[in-house]
């Protein structure tokens, strides 16, 4: 924990878990054994030890979001060196670490807290040291006492340890972990059951557990609720030890044991880390005596439900189950807390997949929503984005989340992810493609018109790069590209693609009969379709899901190819031609020979199949431009995290003259990406 917010998150989360355990223990009362009553506190121990938010999901309550929101507001006006308003709270280890001189008020609070932890630990160490010093001055036990200790050990199969007598001790106790010492009051006869109690503490390493709980106490010294909980844990440990004692005693001995506890109600007892004592205060002893009166041996079958309940509590407390996602909030420019909460959610609900990052960023662009853009952007850009949104809201008197990326006003009907390509550094590049009903003129003051005065519609492409930082993030990777389309033209940017847009790659081969070029374009999609049932008919309609999906997976990928053959023969050969055909196949392996399936080449007919084979046949007319084109579209679905549209080894072309195979060419990649092919 390197700042006060990390500590608050850790301690409040631990408090929440402790409260849950207290409620469950209260509800179940003494239905479950003292073993479960104490053992279930291991859930709290794990919560204290493990950093909160390590799974990226909320456990029980959205504490990370609440604290992140408050931090965003508070730190915005401070100049902290330990934390930042725009960097999310991160806990790498559950102990405080001061990294530099404090500067702001929150820095000083954290520094004071850290000093308190050191002071608490020091106090525990000093207390323990003083106790050990006291014991060092104690006397060895008498022969009779040693014999009594050995008899108890033998009777109950327990491990003995060094024993000393000390004058003035109110009760017996065990001190130490590595070299434990059993301290017995001098000149007082000790009952066997007292020795049994202390030796059972020794057997089950309760002193070591006491040290662990003491460390937790020190770390959370300023949390009064947890201090009460730690007291309760100590009492549960003693009750468990009582249970173990009673299980070994019979009949009247149990009543006598209760009597011994009763006699200790008003006595002092040693409290130090690494020690255990039969007595733990009058009020607690009263509770323990009540437990003794209810003593029963819990049936074996109860272990199963005890474990199951502990597992449910453990998983709920540690692993979490949900995230609240990206919350845009009211949008009201005067709602500072709403804005802080929205930006906090953008810092926490990071994109876990490539598709999720692209979907979130694309919707941010489409809806001019800066919170969405922030959620998919590197954390280093959070501050600049926040400031821009605040500026926009004040300037335009508009929503606090308004952020326009690029000059064009985009249609909010969907987007396409074009030419997703893996880069050597492990990132990806792609084009986010949108449509626009109008396009701005160059001066930005009007809309573009064609020669007949109709407004141009268009396609707007944003080159982006997706890389892995704290999560998958998107950054701009070049200038925005605008492609006007005359009114009346239309293409589905999520399906068919267009030669207007850049290609993923180009392949080419030059042969005796001519040149063949193939251009490849891929389109990935995320499923954003919402089915709207029509209650009055059997059919329904669909609409676009505007909710961002930081965890999205790709739903489909379509790879479109456009191939073109350019005649390269002589004039005489051209005159002899009646028809020219082109057949294209994919080559996944550069060393293998291309396999061309049989195809019927009918006049002026083109076709393709799902395996990437395409063909076309042209009847040669006098005005033939010397080219034959064909195309194909191949679809994928399933896990596409590693792009299936990685450039293939090549394509192969078979050229037909007058229906007969003329030449086979193997195309190789010539350009890795580029604009539309000329011609």
């Amino acid at each position: 924990m390197t700042d006060i917010w990390a500590f608050l998150l850790q301690t409040l989360s631990a408090s929440l878990v402790a409260a849950l355990l207290m409620v469950v223990k209260w509800l179940l009362g003494d239905q479950l054994s003292p073993r479960w009553q104490y053992g279930v506190w291991s859930v709290l121990a794990l919560r204290i030890v493990l950093p909160v938010w390590m799974t990226g999901k909320y456990t029980l309550l959205p504490l990370p979001l609440w604290l992140e929101t408050v931090k965003g507001v508070v730190e915005n006006s401070l100049d902290s060196v330990y934390s930042s308003a725009y960097a999310p709270i991160r806990i790498r280890f559950p102990v405080p670490w001061v990294g530099g001189m404090p500067k702001s008020a929150t820095d000083w609070i954290f520094a004071i807290y850290a000093a308190g932890v050191l002071a608490a630990l020091l106090w525990y160490m000093v207390s323990y040291g003083r106790l050990r010093l006291l014991l060092r001055h104690g006397s060895s036990v008498s022969e009779e006492q040693q014999m009594q200790i050995d008899t108890v050990c033998e009777q109950y199969s327990l491990r003995p340890c060094r024993a000393v007598t000390v004058a003035g001790l109110p009760s017996a106790f065990v001190c130490g972990v590595l070299r434990p010492v059993l301290a017995i009051p001098a000149a007082i006869e000790i009952d066997d059951k007292v020795l049994l109690h202390e030796l059972l503490h020794l057997r089950y390493f309760d002193a070591a557990q006491s040290v662990v709980w003491s460390v937790f106490r020190a770390i959370h010294w300023c949390n009064p609720f947890l201090q009460c909980v730690f007291n309760r844990i100590g009492n549960d440990m003693e009750q468990l030890c009582d249970q173990r004692v009673l299980e070994r005693l019979e009949g009247e001995q149990r009543r006598e044991y209760g009597g011994i506890l009763l006699s200790m109600v008003n006595e002092r007892y040693p409290r130090a880390s690494g020690t255990t004592s039969l007595s733990n205060g009058g009020k607690n002893i009263a509770r323990r005596i009540a437990s003794i009166a209810r003593f029963k041996k819990y049936p074996k079958g109860m272990e199963l439900v005890s474990v199951c309940i502990a597992v449910v509590l453990l998983c709920a407390s540690l692993f979490g189950t949900y995230t609240s996602g990206i919350e845009v909030g009211s949008g009201n420019r005067n709602d500072d807390w709403g804005f802080a909460r929205a930006m906090a959610s953008a810092r926490l609900a990071r994109c876990t997949t490539i598709a999720g990052a692209l979907d979130t960023y694309a919707k941010g662009i489409m809806y001019a929503n800066g919170v969405y853009v922030a959620a998919a952007s590197p954390l280093s850009k959070q501050e600049a984005l926040a400031k821009e949104m605040v500026y926009n809201a004040k300037r335009d008197n508009g929503a606090y989340d308004y952020l326009q990326v690029g000059p064009e006003s985009l249609n909010q009907t969907g987007y396409g992810i074009y030419n997703l390509k893996k880069l050597p550094d492990g990132g990806y590049e792609a084009l986010l493609v949108f449509t626009a009903d109008t396009l701005l003129t160059e001066d930005g003051k009007g809309c573009r018109e064609d020669e007949s005065g109709d407004l141009y519609t268009g396609v707007v492409a944003y080159p982006v790069k997706v890389s892995r930082e704290d999560a998958w993030v998107v950054t701009e990777n070049g200038g925005i590209q605008v492609y006007p389309i005359s009114s009346g033209e239309y293409f589905d940017i999520t399906q068919r693609g267009s030669s207007l847009l850049p290609f993923l790659g180009t392949y080419k081969a030059v042969g005796k009969s001519g040149t063949v070029t193939t251009q490849v374009q891929s389109i990935y999609t995320v499923d954003n379709t919402i089915e709207n049932a029509n209650q009055f008919a059997f059919w329904g309609s669909t609409s676009f899901d505007s909710t961002v999906k930081p965890d999205a997976e790709f739903a489909s990928c379509t790879v479109n190819t456009e191939s073109k053959y350019i005649f390269g023969g002589s004039a005489g050969e051209r005159d002899a031609l009646k028809s020219v055909g082109l057949q294209m196949v994919e080559m996944k392996n550069a060393d293998s020979s291309p396999e061309f399936p049989d195809v019927q080449l009918y006049s002026n007919v083109s076709g393709s199949d799902n395996s990437g084979v395409s063909w076309s046949n042209r009847t040669i007319l006098p005005d033939w431009d010397g080219t034959v084109s064909c195309g194909s579209g191949t679809g994928w679905s399933g896990n596409m995290e590693s792009s299936p549209a990685e450039l293939l080894t090549g394509y192969a072309a078979r050229i037909f003259w007058n229906g007969e195979p003329k030449e086979t060419l193997v195309l190789k990649e010539v350009v890795s990406s580029g604009t539309a092919a000329a011609g």
């Binding site: 849950l20 509800l27 239905q31 909320y58 049936p299 439900v305 199951c308 449910v312």
Partner: protein
């Protein structure tokens, strides 16, 4: 007479479990509400308590579960959904203990009345407890469809079997009474 009361109570519990495991929805209205199942079980506890005193300790937990199911039923009826993972966790914990202890008590009663259903009740108790625990874990079960379907099938089989065994237990008790 006592045995007759016991047999009637076991019948109530059997019907209670039937309501807990069966849902029949008319729109947002569940006409076989779970809260009614818990009320039937609560009505049966006093008779059970005459044979197994620890069964009476389940009453406060049963009331809590009935209230919780009532809240859920009401929220569903209004076409809404309840958010509150914290309460769900607490309800799951209480449910685990409640049913485990209740079935343990029934098994003990079967043993004391020399009915043959004891072992089956204990087995069903164990399987049911484990399944409920698994479903309560924060695992994205949607991602493991085959596993989820398998567990659902097992749960349905256990639910049907449990009701069958409880009705059989009730018949066994009635047979003992006649004899």
């Amino acid at each position: 007479m006592e045995r007759q009361r016991l047999a009637d109570s076991v019948k109530l519990i059997a019907y209670g479990y039937l309501l807990l495991h069966l849902n029949f929805n008319l729109g947002t209205l569940n006409v076989l509400p779970n809260w009614l199942g818990y009320i039937l079980i609560l009505r049966a506890l006093p008779a059970l308590g005459e044979y197994e005193p620890s069964a009476l300790l389940l009453r406060p937990l049963g009331i809590l579960l009935a209230l919780w199911e009532g809240v859920l039923w009401t929220v569903d009826l209004a076409g809404s959904s309840l958010t509150g993972y914290l309460f769900t966790v607490i309800a799951t914990v209480i449910e685990l203990y409640f049913h485990f202890q209740l079935l343990t008590n029934l098994a003990d009663i079967a043993e004391s009345c020399n009915c043959p259903e004891r072992k089956r009740i204990l087995t069903l108790r164990t399987v049911r407890t484990v399944l409920i625990t698994l479903f309560a874990l924060p695992v994205p079960w949607d991602s493991y469809k085959i596993l989820t379907v398998g567990m659902m099938v097992v749960f349905i089989v256990v639910a049907v079997w449990l009701c069958t065994v409880l009705f059989s237990f009730r018949r066994s008790l009635a047979t003992v009474i006649l004899e």
